[in-house]
């Protein structure tokens, strides 16, 4: 759901570590709301987060976060950002409450405010009873929730969450996602980097896919999951779907059965032919709309489109099987 001006932009951003080019000419505009950042391992997601935080400097290109240029205005920006790192990072030797109080004080909260806010966010994430225990003794799920509390205690405008559900059981994952939604409901924009596609599907409104340091896809969920070429449609048929498949093929339109539905490959200007086939087959339909892939298929397809080598490989396999690429 792209709204208003973007909360962060990257223009032609490149970053190289020794021989490895983590980002190459990345162009990106991140809208408000909950944005899922997807990409395979080593795609450049964590590098992007570090550049957004001003922890690292791009070799070239411009990064603007919340209206500030990075890393020049890093301190101002970090005061408005909450960051939950991917690593199991905690301040050593402190209990849960002290962890959150220190995080708040580092962001500029006075001690009294920090203490009050720390209790509040620890209540929010369900660590009320464990707040005086050493954080190192927490379970993984508790440590994840503690890090979320540390990230939001100062009331950030933008929250960067790097793999917040990694290693959590289904119940813990559901709670973490609900917390994220709750926080987003107060107008906090969230950038969620994850490998768990169902998490993105559950709460994200906008998706950014990074592959090999470049933008693979940026858009809303419907666009992400739109069919392989954008011209595949699903027709829900009440009965006798095979008659519709036959009628469509007679019109020269590719069609096949998918359980009780019919998948049709047609351009928009062929819509009339499709309706004619429906009339000719004399079947009742309950749905006619663009095909939405599942997240996994869409993810792989967007990576494939971005990756010429992989696409060549796929095409070669298809040719060997005697199919048109």
């Amino acid at each position: 759901m792209a709204q208003d001006s973007p909360i962060a932009t990257a223009s032609q951003v490149s970053r190289t570590f020794d021989e490895v080019q983590a980002l190459r000419g990345l162009d990106l505009a991140i809208p408000k709301g909950i944005v899922g950042v997807l990409g395979p391992n080593g795609a450049g997601k964590s590098t992007l987060f570090r550049l957004l935080l001003g922890l690292d400097q791009a070799d070239q290109g411009d990064i603007v976060v919340l209206g500030h240029r990075m890393p020049d205005d890093a301190l101002q920006v970090r005061a408005k950002i909450g960051y939950m790192p991917e690593d199991d990072s905690l301040f050593p030797g402190l209990d849960g409450l002290q962890q959150v109080v220190l995080a708040a004080q580092l962001c500029g909260l006075a001690r009294v405010d920090a203490l009050s806010r720390a209790h509040q966010v620890l209540d929010l994430v369900g660590l009320t009873d464990a707040r005086y225990r050493l954080a190192a003794g927490y379970s993984l799920g508790m440590r994840q929730r503690l890090r979320l509390a540390m990230a939001v205690v100062h009331g950030p405008e933008l929250l960067l969450l790097d793999e917040p559900t990694a290693g959590l059981d289904p119940d813990g994952r559901a709670q973490m996602l609900a917390l994220i939604q709750e926080i987003a409901g107060h107008g906090v924009s969230i950038l969620l980097s994850t490998h768990v596609l169902s998490d993105v599907e559950a709460i994200c409104q906008y998706i950014v896919l990074i592959s090999r340091g470049q933008l693979g896809f940026a858009g809303d969920m419907a666009r992400f999951r739109a069919g392989s070429n954008g011209h595949t449609w699903r027709i829900g048929v009440l009965a006798q779907a095979d008659r519709l498949v036959e009628a469509l093929r007679e019109q020269g339109i590719a069609a096949q059965l998918d359980r009780s539905d019919v998948l049709v490959e047609a351009d928009v200007d062929q819509a009339t032919l499709v309706w004619q086939a429906i009339a000719k087959a004399d079947v009742a339909i309950h749905h006619f709309g663009p095909l939405e892939e599942d997240m996994g298929s869409a993810f792989v397809r967007h990576l494939r489109l971005d990756d010429p080598l992989r696409r060549q490989g796929q095409d070669a396999v298809a040719a060997a099987l005697g199919e048109a690429p």
Partner: protein, 334 residues
């Protein structure tokens, strides 16, 4: 004909846990979880200035140093030499036999010797304490991923270093200065104004000794804090840091012994002993009024040793600044 992709059913969204008594569910779409009353709210308060944040961080670091009973026992151990010498002073001053009490002409040397030995023993304790407790601090932060937590917040890397140094240096200063000051006060109570040619000069000597003791403690504390933290960042594992720092001090001692064995006690090799060189700071500052009584060579050795520590301090600062330019960010990346 090209095969169209089949669409598997969407992945199920995990179910939420059942609602607990005393909790409430949040409204909205899937997935649901049950949160404590209150929910999230934005913070609307004022931010405190950067300097205040750094001071607060230094205080937090300082309190972190003194957490735990074993550390407190170790710190109490720093008082033992001063207590021992204070008892010695009190006993000798109250002996019934005048032959065993300290004659007035030797009182100054007696006072200085007590201070020197107490300071020297505490310096040894401090170097051990620094090796085991202070040196691993930054590496421990790096290994726990805490450096990433610090630097992803509005805190400059230099400010982190300043806070660390301030906390470490303050603790080291207290561990050195408090026992020496106590010993000095006991000696002042025992000998009073009966150490100089007049009451005024005696008062001046006591003030001079106090100032010298505090200054030398401050310089030694700063040197130890800097060198310990710098030695710590040279290795990856916090457990090996004490070996590096302690080993460095021990190596300097061995080098000094070897040099003195080869070229005699009055050789420049004496200045190589880092522990002795730190003691030289105290002798230079607290005993400078007595320099005329010392051989010139000892004075030069103390000066050389102090110079060695100054150079070590400068090198340590450079190492720490370089380390923080590109620190390991993330857990276990030290």
């Amino acid at each position: 004909m090209r095969t169209l992709p089949a669409t598997p059913p969407p992945a199920p969204i995990p179910a939420a846990s059942p609602q607990q008594p005393g909790t409430q569910g949040i409204s909205g779409g899937q997935p649901k979880a049950f949160l404590r009353p209150g929910g999230f709210s934005l913070y609307q308060g004022e931010a405190v200035p950067q300097q205040q944040r750094v001071r607060r961080l230094a205080l937090i670091f300082l309190l972190d140093h003194v957490r735990g009973w074993w550390v407190r026992v170790q710190m109490a151990g720093f008082l033992l030499p001063a207590i021992g010498f204070a008892i010695y002073v009190l006993v000798r001053a109250n002996l019934p036999s005048a032959a065993l009490t300290v004659p007035k002409a030797e009182r100054m040397a007696h006072i200085l010797q007590n201070l020197r030995w107490s300071f020297s023993i505490d310096l040894g304790f401090l170097l051990l304490f620094a090796a085991s407790r202070l040196a691993p601090l930054i590496t421990r932060d790096a290994n726990a991923g805490a450096l990433l937590l610090y630097f992803s917040r509005p805190l400059q890397r230099d400010h982190y270093l300043v806070a660390r140094l301030a906390a470490t240096g303050t603790l080291a200063f207290a561990l050195l200065a408090v026992p020496q000051t106590l010993l000095l006060l006991v000696q002042m109570g025992v000998f009073g104004l009966d150490i100089g040619s007049s009451a005024g000069s005696a008062l001046g000597i006591w003030l001079y000794l106090l100032l010298g003791t505090l200054l030398s403690s401050a310089f030694a504390a700063a040197a130890v804090a800097l060198s310990a933290l710098a030695a710590g960042v040279l290795v990856r594992a916090p457990s090996t840091v004490p070996l590096v720092y302690g080993g460095g001090i021990l190596a300097s001692l061995v080098a000094s012994w070897v040099t003195q064995a080869a070229w005699g006690r009055d050789s420049l090799g004496r200045a190589l002993d880092l522990h002795n060189a730190l003691g030289g700071l105290q002798r230079l500052m607290a005993e400078s009024s007595q320099w005329a009584q010392y051989p010139d060579f000892a004075w030069h050795i103390d000066l050389l040793g102090s110079g060695l520590w100054l150079a070590l301090g400068a090198a340590s600062t450079a190492i720490l600044l370089k380390y923080l330019k590109n620190p390991p960010l993330g857990r276990g990346r030290a």
